[in-house]
Symmetry: C2
Subunit: 589 residues, 2 copies
């Protein structure tokens, strides 16, 4: 019996018809960075032959059982998202796939570290299993920082080198996910050094996360064997990293728009090899409004990166990063993930083929997409007993003034340290100036501790409370509020529905978005989740929440992430990120 | 106890001195394709930090136990030869390493298919073992075509898929070597398709060999899963292959000089990703006179490829091809293979460091290099009984004229088909016109068959005979001569010394070069072999041998290789390469 490969070779030779011939599209050739008309022959799951036009016609004719006239369209390989957290779309892998494949994303290197922090290894196993057989090829990287920084926070699990090594054996696993504890890597702390070492020993990719890491620290991070970054926010930072040999995942996420800066760096070193493209975190409404990988590519072209190179970064380079050597290009022998795009300005994806099978026609999904495993829907909210007084700051004395260390929102998603002098009454800080809110983090993974409460400036909330279990990456319960009663109401509401988002004011719940899968995802289509996010955002803005770089619903999602500069709050206290030290809430007078 | 990696990271951080700091060289940064001054810190076996100069001085100071002032020199990673047969240098791996490391080659992807055709799997195992611990990192690819085309020739071994699979498990093995039977691949012949399949299944590199393969055939060869070529001889051919996604090993061997054509192709597609550089076959005197990988780089720069890109192809891209992801660049975390070069015009290599250890100083080797295993020195010449009449053409009739199919030397190392009408006397073709010689191939691996004898035009030999066991790739005994007596003398002389080269005239041996290791190599330094090659060449030229693209001593080395166009002669007959058919020696009248 003929093998698939034998048929593919026979079709290339011309001794069998192709299954499909796509005629006359402008082919984006990422090998040579050219665009020219070509006929593309697909047999079984692979490209079998690509025939360039000379003088307006193909050098020779490909015959196919099926033929498509693609004149005027642009043909390119399916996009490879080089770093993405599915959980940020608030839906499980099958719904994620449905939402992104329409935008041309046919492969994605995922980091399931959100669910890992809630459900541990079972969460990773679920994501691996739920990713099988989807029209988006899911390349799994094993979460490295669960929790991001042990000692500074606690989450639902703690991964050590042996856990990471165990998960590396799962099918489809390609590497170790963003090693966010960069101070730990640079200072060779035992736990994280052990995890890096597993990646080196197993010869898999050690993915990085190194915001503003520069100079000696950057050299040390790379010397340790962690080789990429998707957190670079300025051209100079990107340039320094490229020169040091780091791979830059050019990123446009829902709240981090760094394509312009990457393009500025690119202009200085247009022959750089180490670029890929990624979305990192995309919110449900954002994928519907602005697309997915196609938008990153579009932005890159707008910013001045020539289209064939931008598309190379979004296809071939992503595949190479994860050593998928027959993926990411339209060429004989490559897996037939093919996009037909209207034009390079809009990057509107018309048709999508995955391994030779059409999955999107005229922008609409035409295949049934469903994971073969059911999502874990048990309530993961394991909160301590909570009363209103738990959401108040308890001062070390009964009456007087006290100076607090505060967190303040700053440009480029940073949160910086500030100071605030407030009155203490009855041993409590009960009131804050208008610009400030109480910000609380409560362990929700059975840690059994009361909330840690601090003060945040710049959220905009004028009254009521806003809370969520989507709080990177430990996903404890984060609630900000102007008063303890509404904060408690938010906590109780979320405890009941298994997590998600809740907005309350004056003792009333104004909006909720339940995320019953680990408090992170809901098993519904993105089209159903997105309008609820929009409603939530509208209500939030009515309460004063500022639409910053993040969508209001996610305004607190990064506040508890102690690997992102400068100051964060965890369930254990205020953290200064670069020094990896707790900062006292109360300052000496 | 601190691990090596921990020390490297500490040195990068600045908490330990480097073992070596190389100051102020012009660094060739292959990641960004830039050249700028930098300080390079090496700790243990790796680069720990690279510090760029800003305004004439390093951004910060690296301290080292040892420091080298390299101002004015150019610093770059050691060269990775992406395809080379050690046997062509006629010396074993240790002597090869000594000869090439002085020219900056610190890694080489070798294909031991010469010795494999003589000694089979034992030959490959010997090369693997003899390559351990040398200052050149040997990446072994497993010979795929032993012999190149079964059925059209016989050699000392025959490799099938299971043999290749077995050899892939040896330490240091990185892929399957040039799959030369391209007609077999394209037509999906079982044996070679099985071998290609092993490479695909094992996820290793399937190296190619596809001279003049174009159009449908090229697409089919790639569709089969063979992805590179080092045989492209013209810019248009290279361009077609690049566009199809094939990797081009830019080659300057002793008899194939294709850098200029590669550069011409490059100029059309300067953003192509798929270039590496290789030497393929370098003769002993050639490496001494013209260098090794440094000369390929020099030629590429002369031909117009910008130096940082030429050097990228010769370093990083070669390493990436074989998935050595911490090799081929000067950057933190990379293995510290470092060259200091006088200037980019001469590419004269001054100092070489391999994994942080200096091995070449001022152009001289400063370390002891010796394989830990002894070479196999048993006589491998298993010839049939031979008499003078065996080296004559026996015609199908006693007297008259006969038309013979001949082989003729043509440009670009091709050998084409010709015709010659000659008289038959006493059932033999005893005399040839001045431009022609008898050409014989005798199985020397115990096949037990008499020589096959044909006619060759263009060798230049006016009298006597020239013979060798270096006859790619089956390495049978090839002897060309104007008379049978001298041909027999050559055969007997080589039988006695275990193979090599022999030149005879008028019953006298004029020159020999014994190659006691498999009839291919001699365990002596290249410096001792080279002058003997020169003497042999001088004597050959006296007999009329034309110094063509190959050195005279190797003028017959390719004549028996039935995977190189157009017509060849093997121990079984005349072969038309592209059709893979025997061609009758005698033509119908």
């Amino acid at each position: 019996m003929a093998t698939a490969r034998e048929d593919i070779v026979a079709a290339a030779r011309g001794d069998q018809p192709m299954d499909l011939v796509v005629r006359g599209a402008h082919l984006v050739n990422v090998f040579t960075a050219e665009i020219y008309p070509a006929d593309i022959g697909i047999k079984d799951d692979r490209f079998a032959a690509v025939v360039r036009y000379e003088d307006g016609r193909p050098a020779y004719t490909l015959n196919g059982f099926r033929e498509v006239d693609a004149a005027g369209r642009f043909a390119m390989a399916g996009f490879v998202d080089s770093h993405v957290h599915i959980e940020s779309m608030m839906v499980p892998p099958d719904e994620f796939a449905k939402a992104v494949v329409r935008n041309g994303t046919t492969a994605a290197a995922i980091d399931p570290h959100e669910i890992a922090n809630v459900l541990g290894k079972d969460g990773v196993r679920y994501m691996v299993e739920a990713s099988q057989g989807l029209p988006v090829r899911i390349l799994v990287t094993v979460p490295s920082c669960v929790p991001p920084v042990p000692g500074l926070e606690t989450s639902g699990a703690e991964f050590h080198a042996k856990d990471v090594d165990e998960l590396l054996q799962l099918p489809g696993v390609v590497g170790i996910a963003e090693i966010m504890d960069y101070p730990g890597v640079i200072n060779h702390h035992a736990r994280i050094a052990g995890i890096v070492s597993v990646g080196l020993d197993r010869l898999v990719v050690n993915e990085g996360h190194a915001p503003q890491v520069s100079g000696r620290w950057l050299q040390a991070y790379l010397a340790a064997g962690v080789t990429s970054d998707h957190e670079s926010r300025q051209a100079a930072e990107i340039l320094e990293k490229l020169r040091a040999g780091m791979l830059i995942h050019i990123r446009d996420s829902s709240f981090g728009h760094y394509v312009g800066e990457a393009a500025a760096a690119w202009k200085q070193v247009p022959h750089s090899v180490n670029f890929t493209m990624c979305t990192d975190d995309i919110e449900p409404d954002d994928v519907i409004k602005r697309g997915h990988m196609n938008r990153v590519v579009r932005l890159a072209i707008e910013a001045g990166i020539p289209a064939p190179l931008a598309i190379r970064y979004a296809t071939l380079n992503g595949a190479l990063r994860y050593r998928k050597l027959d993926l990411g290009a339209v060429g004989p022998g490559y897996l037939a993930d093919l996009l037909l795009v209207d034009d390079l300005e809009s990057m509107r994806v018309r048709d999508v083929y995955v391994e030779g099978r059409q999955v999107v026609a005229d922008g609409e999904l035409i295949v049934d997409v469903r994971s073969s495993v059911a999502p874990p829907l048990h309530n993961t909210m394991r909160l301590p007993e909570l009363v209103e007084d738990d959401f108040t700051i308890h001062a070390p004395f009964a009456e007087g003034d006290i100076e607090l260390t505060t967190i303040e929102f700053a440009p480029r998603n940073r949160t910086v340290q500030g100071r605030l002098r407030v009155p203490v009454k009855g041993g409590r800080v009960a009131e804050l100036p208008p610009d400030y809110v109480f910000i609380s983090v409560t362990g929700r993974h059975g840690q059994g501790q009361k909330p840690f409460v601090g003060v945040l400036k710049g959220l905009g909330l004028r009254s009521g409370a806003h809370g969520t279990t989507v709080a990177h990456d430990s996903h404890n319960l984060v609630i900000a509020g102007r008063n303890a009663a509404d904060m408690l109401l938010v906590a109780r509401t979320l405890a009941k529905c298994g997590g998600g988002f809740c907005l309350a004011n004056d003792g009333q719940v104004l909006a909720t978005l339940a995320l019953p899968i680990a408090g992170l995802m809901t098993p519904e289509p993105v089209e159903q989740v997105a309008p609820r996010v929009e409603v939530y955002n509208a209500r939030s803005i009515e309460l004063g929440l500022l639409p910053g770089q993040r969508s209001p619903i996610l305004s607190l999602a990064g506040i508890a992430l102690p690997v992102s500069p400068d100051v964060k709050i965890t369930n254990l206290g205020l953290v200064h990120v670069n020094s990896q030290q707790f900062v006292p809430l109360f300052n000496a007078a």
